[in-house]
């Protein structure tokens, strides 16, 4: 589903990705962990070209993202959820969910609204359709953001630290929505510090540090029997 081939990325002189090779299969739930500044978010952001790699290839759903014609095609199929929600504050929750459907997918307005309302129901926010984002709590905002991404019926969902900006008591409601998505077989790539969630939901955990994937395995392998010294030292600090 997603292939990264020798992906490198530099910001000026600072090389943050130093050759990432990665295959993610359809239906896989992959959690990326690593210290801050390790490049884990950048890895995720190359998967829909929010960060264009300096070199290397990104292929999603058999389409090479280097081709501009593929880019918008792929972005329709790849939903993204951000740490800071990035809801559109000047629109109601409902309009946040219907904008891309009507403008990109050309879904008729009524149908788009039905899809939106069904998704809001699913994330437990059916009563907030007419509300504006600024009137919602952090957890509610993030659930709306997930629903907004799902409204495009994506094949892959990318999550960039989706719970890092939330108050602790709101983390659970967001993780629950993500878990139910995983159970439905959605292909997901998640950058997170929620190790409990990673153990519970991930098929595969990647440990990234210094712009490289240092360890790649099942949650049991990574958390119980890490082989890399840096993985061990990272886990000992946070667990």
């Amino acid at each position: 589903m997603i292939i990264l081939d020798k992906v490198r990325k530099s910001f000026g002189k600072n090389e943050v990705l130093k050759g990432i090779d990665l295959h993610i299969a359809k239906g896989e739930v992959v959690v990326i962990i690593g210290p801050s500044g390790s490049g884990k978010s950048t890895v995720l952001r190359t998967m829909n070209y929010l960060e264009e790699p300096s070199s290397g290839k990104v292929i999603v759903d058999s389409m090479d993202l280097a081709d501009k014609n593929n880019l918008n095609e792929v972005r329709k199929e790849v939903g993204m959820v951000f740490q800071n929600f990035n809801l559109f504050p000047h629109m109601t929750v409902l309009d946040n969910l219907t904008l891309a459907q009507t403008k990109v997918r050309k879904t008729p307005k009524q149908e788009a609204e039905n899809i939106a309302l069904a998704l809001l129901e699913r994330v437990g926010l059916a009563d907030k359709a007419k509300a504006y984002p600024n009137s919602l709590s952090g957890g509610q905002k993030q659930r709306v953001a997930i629903a907004r991404a799902l409204a495009m019926k994506p094949k892959v969902m990318l999550f960039d630290e989706p719970t890092s900006a939330l108050d602790p008591e709101m983390v659970r409601e967001v993780l629950d929505v993500m878990k139910s998505l995983a159970e439905e077989g959605m292909t997901m790539v998640i950058v997170t510090h929620e190790m409990g969630f990673a153990k519970e939901v991930a098929d595969r955990v990647l440990f990234v540090d210094g712009g490289l994937i240092l360890e790649d395995g099942t949650p049991q392998e990574i958390f119980d029997t890490p082989t890399n010294e840096r993985t061990k030292s990272f886990l000992s600090k946070i667990l």
Partner: protein, 216 residues
């Protein structure tokens, strides 16, 4: 204080005020469009386009409006051989001038929007232009209502400069009346009050727009 001079000449002054409003509205309107285009050009991928936008803004902001008016009204006809109607010269000079300031207002407004908004739009599959139109601009526009109001007020006052090319707006009308009546104090006083009424009205309107468009 001779109230009769004021009362007798008030209709003439008010006609002048109407012309001032007309020229200001047209200049700010054209300046708005120019400013929007220049601001977008300034954000362009292409260096040449960005450079042109920057040159325009630097040149217009770096020279006095009065000189710009002279250039368009007196200097341009010497090159083209065509006389320019004072009204057209006045509106052209003011529009070009206003466009430079408005473009900076737009630029600041667009840049004040969190870059996560563009990323969210693009990640949903919207094009750059669609994201600009539906997500960035509506928010930027809210942010720039107050500085746009200031620009409108500044333009209204600066439009008095076109009196130098004999264009009969409020200030020029005042000058002409004084030339006949010698009532400097009464007429300039009245002219000032009329300007004040117009600018206060604009700032009230801007305040209303601001409240109406505040983020819910």
């Amino acid at each position: 204080m001779d109230w009769n001079v004021i009362i007798n000449n008030l209709p003439l002054l008010l006609q002048g005020a109407l012309v001032t409003i007309e020229i200001t509205a047209m200049s700010v309107g054209c300046g708005f469009l120019i400013g929007l285009l220049v601001a977008l050009a300034g954000l362009s991928r292409f260096m040449v386009v960005r450079l042109l936008a920057k040159c325009y803004v630097d040149i217009i902001r770096g020279t006095p409006l009065l000189v710009q008016i002279f250039l368009i009204y007196f200097a341009l006809p010497m090159i083209t051989g065509q006389r320019i109607d004072p009204f057209i010269a006045a509106v052209t000079a003011c529009s070009i001038n206003s466009g430079a300031y408005v473009s900076e207002i737009f630029r600041a407004g667009i840049q004040s929007i969190d870059k996560g908004q563009m990323e969210a739009g693009r990640s949903l599959g919207l094009s750059w232009a669609q994201t600009m139109r539906y997500i960035i601009m509506p928010q930027a526009f809210r942010a720039i209502i107050p500085p746009l109001g200031n620009e409108f007020i500044a333009m209204l006052k600066d439009s008095s400069l076109v009196s130098v090319i004999g264009f009969e707006e409020l200030t020029r009308r005042g000058q002409l009346i004084i030339a006949k009546t010698y009532s400097s104090f009464e007429i300039w006083g009245t002219v000032a009050v009329i300007y004040l009424i117009m600018t206060v009205t604009i700032s009230q309107l801007v305040g209303y727009l601001e409240r109406k468009n505040s983020v819910k």
